[in-house]
Symmetry: C2
Subunit: 95 residues, 2 copies
Amino acid sequence: MLKELDPLLHSQLRLAVMSLLISVDEADFVYLKEKTNATAGNLSVQIDKLTTAGYIDVQKDLSGKRPRTSCKITVVGKKAFESYVEVLRGYIINL
Amino acid sequence: MLKELDPLLHSQLRLAVMSLLISVDEADFVYLKEKTNATAGNLSVQIDKLTTAGYIDVQKDLSGKRPRTSCKITVVGKKAFESYVEVLRGYIINL
DNA sequence: ATAGCTTGGTTTATAATATAAACCAAATGG
DNA sequence: CCATTTGGTTTATATTATAAACCAAGCTAT
């Protein structure tokens, strides 16, 4: 039987962010914004949700000239992503 | 760059319905309801959306003792599903 | 130095979506 | 018959995604 798709990951922008972070293992706000083509506001909100869920860690650095928000995926986030993918396979089997 | 995920398919219940129909090629309302664990109302709405999009065809048969709503995927729907999966692969290597 | 633009965001409002609750007609069961 | 079940649809509500408006700090030309 088809299992539940983690609603936190089953969202285009959040999935994109996780997808980027899983291969890069660290990326800042500007990079994520460029790669995902998201608006800053949308990205900010979705990053917050992923952070609250413990799927990513965020470091805000104000020491440089310009603020820099850097994100990295957590172990919990990586596991959630992998498990999301497993569930997804159930939906797209036979392809 | 990550492509847009067809919002019509990027929905748990609609994806489940399409996933079931792609392998079975015909299924009725009751069957889909059981397999997806959806409420009748939710399923009804999502079936409407898939129909309006031309992703599935619906046949309502009232000739038997009880009404029977039977669904089958269209060529357009099959293509959309396959293309959705391709886009998804961009997000998830090894899917 | 300061008025105005850019950068890197956050907060808040709105649009869109998913979901459940309420409802309906026909069939069935006691 | 009257109540319940079956097979749905319609409508209301909760949740989500998204954009618009906003803000502070830094740069730029005047």
